[in-house]
């Protein structure tokens, strides 16, 4: 099975003892380029009455800023660039796979797990920084000491939830698009394509919202 469309398998490259999924890597670069171009296009000629890309980005940025304000308070503003970039990357990445010839970088578990681990590391670092090391350790033993095992499982589950939801939704969407295209061409795949656009945005939104909610827990001084 080397020819034709294939989703879920990757062209591999080996370098310095590591294996790289080249298609994921290239699609990630393309996504990054699109995000950068989008950001530049939206901010180059800013107008008081936003039009075009500026309008689109302003809606997204304003909404995310509002969510951060509600969840984290004014302290959360520091994380705004991270959250907004994350959201834009995910939206563009999720929708990229719907264009024929491209695949989503997020249909690879390595990308989503990488993003999730990045968020979780920041969550723990911020928690130690804001609460202090003793309080950070103490919160694992709350409400009772035996809960330490459950709390640790919960922490391990966080990156799993974040990454597998996004990965599964995007991969399943692309596979179904391909299968429907073979079984019932034209009409049904078009409907599914439209739904996938929606799913891509919703999944990017859920990933970002969950990141905000995890981060907000670690931004609080006390627990």
């Amino acid at each position: 099975m080397e020819h034709g469309h294939e989703i879920g398998s990757h062209s591999l490259a080996h370098f310095a003892g590591l294996t790289f999924n080249m298609d994921t890597l290239i699609m990630t670069w393309i996504t990054m380029a699109i995000v950068i171009v989008l950001a530049i296009a939206a901010t180059r000629r800013m107008e008081l009455r936003p039009r075009g890309w500026q309008n689109f980005l302003e809606i997204a940025v304003m909404y995310l800023l509002e969510q951060m304000e509600t969840n984290m308070g004014s302290k959360g503003q520091k994380l705004a660039p991270l959250i907004i970039t994350l959201f834009l990357f995910l939206v563009v990445g999720n929708e990229l796979g719907l264009i024929p010839g491209f695949t989503s970088p997020t249909n690879d578990i390595n990308t989503t797990l990488g993003l999730a681990l990045m968020i979780i590391v920041i969550v723990h670092v911020l928690a130690i920084k804001n609460k202090g090391f003793t309080k950070y350790i103490k919160h694992y033993f709350e409400p009772y000491i035996p809960f330490v095992v459950i709390n640790i499982i919960e922490e391990v589950a966080k990156p799993i939830t974040l990454s597998f939801r996004l990965f599964g939704n995007i991969l399943a969407g692309e596979i179904l698009l391909l299968v429907l295209g073979m079984l019932v061409p034209y009409f049904v795949p078009t409907l599914w394509l439209a739904f996938s656009v929606f799913v891509g945005i919703v999944q990017a939104f859920i990933f970002t919202m969950l990141s905000i909610s995890y981060l907000s827990n670690s931004m609080q001084d006390g627990h």
Partner: protein, 70 residues
């Protein structure tokens, strides 16, 4: 953006993630259980207890999400 819309979106968010809390907690339990099995050579008890604790952890995180808001 109205407050209602925010509440609606966060409710949507909660509903969309609750199922995953159960599954991923069990997955994390199995993962940790297998590690404990390998480390202390007590297979299969680590995995068994990992699954049980994972289920409890899933319930616990849903309880926290629903009751505590956080």
């Amino acid at each position: 953006m109205g407050k209602d819309k925010n509440t609606l979106l966060s409710a949507f968010n909660t509903a969309a993630s609750i199922g995953f809390y159960l599954v991923s907690s069990v997955a994390a339990g199995i993962l940790l259980g297998r590690f404990v099995d390998g480390y202390f050579s007590i297979a299969p008890w680590g995995t068994v207890w990992g699954i049980v604790l994972g289920m409890i952890a899933g319930m616990w995180s849903i309880y926290k999400k629903v009751a505590g808001g956080k």
